[in-house]
């Protein structure tokens, strides 16, 4: 809920953010509330903790006894060794591919979405809301139904354009992965960012208009700085989805090992017939490290992050 109150300065509003929550918290603070927080935290962590311990246990132990019996050891790093050195392709290659895939797949959709979200929120156009609803509703399309039609387009594009996928794909097949990730991210990105955009008070835009600023100026000088936290926050979610993606890379990468991300390696860790499932725990943690670092690093944006748009100017 946005309450337009032009008398409140940005400073005041920023200061106000800090204590509103603490009041809400006081509202719930009782021994029971603290207990509830601890219970949630424990429930949410326990399965992962079990996985962490399993990842340091031997195959025999993992397959025959529960992880809690192994709290005191013996521990082994054998599983991690198997994950890091299990094939003739270096794990570093997969890591590099994942990074190369992830960076544009995060930057491109966010940039396009932020532009579109601004237009949907602040530029008047006939049929604007209808178009917005259409974009937002297309979130429901599962990636699985796009596979064949989209891949067909990439392999045999109309108008004799050069094919983007297949054996002769430019960039070794990265372009189709980037493009596909961008497309699939757009509806949600536009929907979320539009929500923040539209909560920024209209007075801010109006006064800038009165001062003679055009949309491009307003967008780049006022909106982008205000939206920085929101952008960073959506960025981490998009980062996570791309980092954990297997399907898009498999389908649209066109089957070139050159572009296979880490998830391709993780998926085959358990072996052709799933016999090596004890390696999955170690694999999960290898893959988890980078997203966790990114999350912790970007968390300061989260604090005043998404929806900080209700700050008034």
């Amino acid at each position: 809920m946005t309450i337009a109150d032009p008398d409140v300065s940005v400073e005041q509003a920023l200061a106000a953010q800090t204590s509103a929550a603490s009041n809400a918290k006081k509202a719930l603070s009782s021994p029971w509330a603290s207990l509830a927080a601890v219970v949630i935290a424990v429930l949410w962590t326990l399965p992962t903790a079990g996985l962490l311990i399993s990842s340091f246990r031997s195959e025999d132990d993992v397959k025959t006894s529960g992880w809690w019996t192994g709290l005191t050891g013996p521990f082994t790093t054998e599983n991690y060794r198997a994950v890091l050195k299990g094939t003739d392709v270096d794990l570093a290659t997969y890591f590099i591919n994942t990074i190369v895939i992830t960076i544009p797949s995060v930057l491109i959709p966010i940039s396009l979405a932020v532009l579109a979200a601004y237009a949907f929120a602040w530029i008047k156009f006939p049929g604007r809301d209808l178009l917005f609803v259409a974009v937002f509703a297309l979130q429901i399309v599962p990636i699985q139904v796009t596979m064949i039609p989209l891949l067909k387009l990439y392999v045999q594009p109309p108008f004799n354009l050069a094919p983007l996928a297949g054996g002769d794909a430019p960039g070794g097949g990265f372009y189709t992965i980037w493009l596909s990730h961008s497309i699939f991210a757009l509806p949600l990105a536009i929907y979320l960012l539009h929500n923040f955009m539209s909560q920024i008070p209209g007075e801010l835009i109006e006064s800038a208009r009165v001062d003679g600023a055009g949309h491009v100026q307003i967008f780049s000088r006022i909106m982008l700085p205000l939206m920085a936290p929101a952008i960073a926050a959506f960025g981490i979610f998009q980062f996570l989805w791309v980092w954990n993606d297997l399907l898009v890379a498999l389908v649209f990468g066109g089957g070139s090992l050159d572009v296979s991300p880490l998830t391709v390696r993780l998926a085959e860790l358990s072996g052709t017939r799933g016999q090596d499932w004890h390696l999955l725990s170690a694999g999960a943690f290898v893959s988890l490290v980078v997203p966790l670092i990114v999350f912790l690093a970007l968390q300061r944006y989260f604090v005043r992050g998404l929806l900080a748009g209700s700050v008034k100017g």
Partner: protein, 319 residues
């Protein structure tokens, strides 16, 4: 390709992209008139809309067409596929399960995420506490399902347990329980996995929005003598209502589409299948593209109420 070449590709791609965006901004920045505004709108929106049209709308339309064709995609069969969907005896259970997922996952993950966000707000080690609940988000749905399969693993009472949940039951003196087998409760245990993942998403977004509640509202309320649960109920929740809607909507759509958990944990057996999984099975295992497409279209239709609700909110905002 060497690592160096890959990074060169990366830089080229990003540079070209931002070059184009900068060009759009530069060209349209000079426009001021009313018609200029329309051009600006088009310039801002078209790149995204075109990509969505090609990558999502076109496949969606071709899915709708496919849903009227037979399984080899050669002949139109009218409503036959839809007829199959609604007359199959198993299908009622699938619809019931889907309803259960869509009712429970968004509400419970949002509720837990909200409560947790409020509870740890400004607590010591807040960042660490949030990272704990966020962690499942960073694990893929398949990974999460595998983790929980370990938690639910069943052996009867006489044997050593591998699953944590049954170890707890056994320690407390109860009989061990086959969590994934017994209908309808097994559905709830699968839903727990999705909630476990999605609560982190809700917590993160809602925590940020709680911090953005203007202090003056809270002050005013306090002066009026509002405190405790009432503050939560009458101030906190209404203040973050737009974000609550966004979070609920996003999780609902994610839940409607999600089949990885069912696929990994039970393979749809023991009456745990959901629409999205049936769609997957028909399209990619049974080679029944027509029926699969009909199921996908059913999922499209189910999202309509959510869309309508959001349109109403949009109208309210515009008014």
């Amino acid at each position: 390709m060497s690592a160096g070449e890959k990074f060169v590709q990366l830089v080229i791609c990003v540079a070209v992209f931002f070059g184009v965006v900068a060009l759009i901004l530069l060209v349209t920045s000079r426009l001021r008139s009313r018609s200029g505004e329309r051009i600006q709108f088009a310039a801002f929106v078209l790149p995204a809309v075109l990509l969505i049209a090609v990558g999502l709308l076109y496949p969606a339309i071709s899915t709708i067409i496919t849903s009227f064709k037979d399984n080899t995609q050669t002949e139109f069969v009218g409503l036959d596929n839809y007829h199959t969907v609604f007359t199959d005896s198993q299908q009622l259970k699938v619809l019931r399960n889907t309803a259960l997922w869509v009712a429970l996952v968004p509400t419970l993950s949002t509720f837990i995420g909200l409560v947790y966000a409020v509870l740890v707000d400004r607590a010591r080690m807040e960042k660490f506490a949030k990272a704990l609940v966020f962690l499942p988000m960073a694990i893929s749905l398949v990974g999460a399902s595998i983790i929980w399969k370990f938690v639910y693993a069943y052996k009867d009472n006489e044997n050593d347990q591998i699953g944590l949940a049954n170890q707890v039951l056994k320690s407390l003196g109860f009989d061990t329980y086959n969590f994934l087998l017994n209908e309808p409760w097994n559905n709830l245990f699968l839903i727990v996995i999705m909630i476990w993942v999605q609560a982190g998403f809700a917590m993160t977004l809602l925590s940020a929005s709680i911090k953005a509640i203007p202090e003056d509202i809270v002050e005013a309320a306090r002066l009026d003598g509002v405190s405790g649960l009432k503050m939560f109920r009458y101030i906190t929740v209404p203040s973050i209502r737009p974000s609550l809607i966004v979070v609920l909507t996003t999780i609902s759509i994610t839940t409607l589409k999600a089949f990885d958990i069912v696929r990994t944990a039970t393979g749809g057996n023991f009456d745990t299948s959901v629409l999205a999984y049936e769609f997957y099975v028909q399209s990619f295992r049974s080679n029944n593209a027509g029926l699969g497409a009909a199921l996908a279209v059913l999922i499209f239709v189910l999202v309509l109420p959510i869309v309508v609700y959001n349109v109403r909110q949009l109208r309210k905002l515009g008014a």
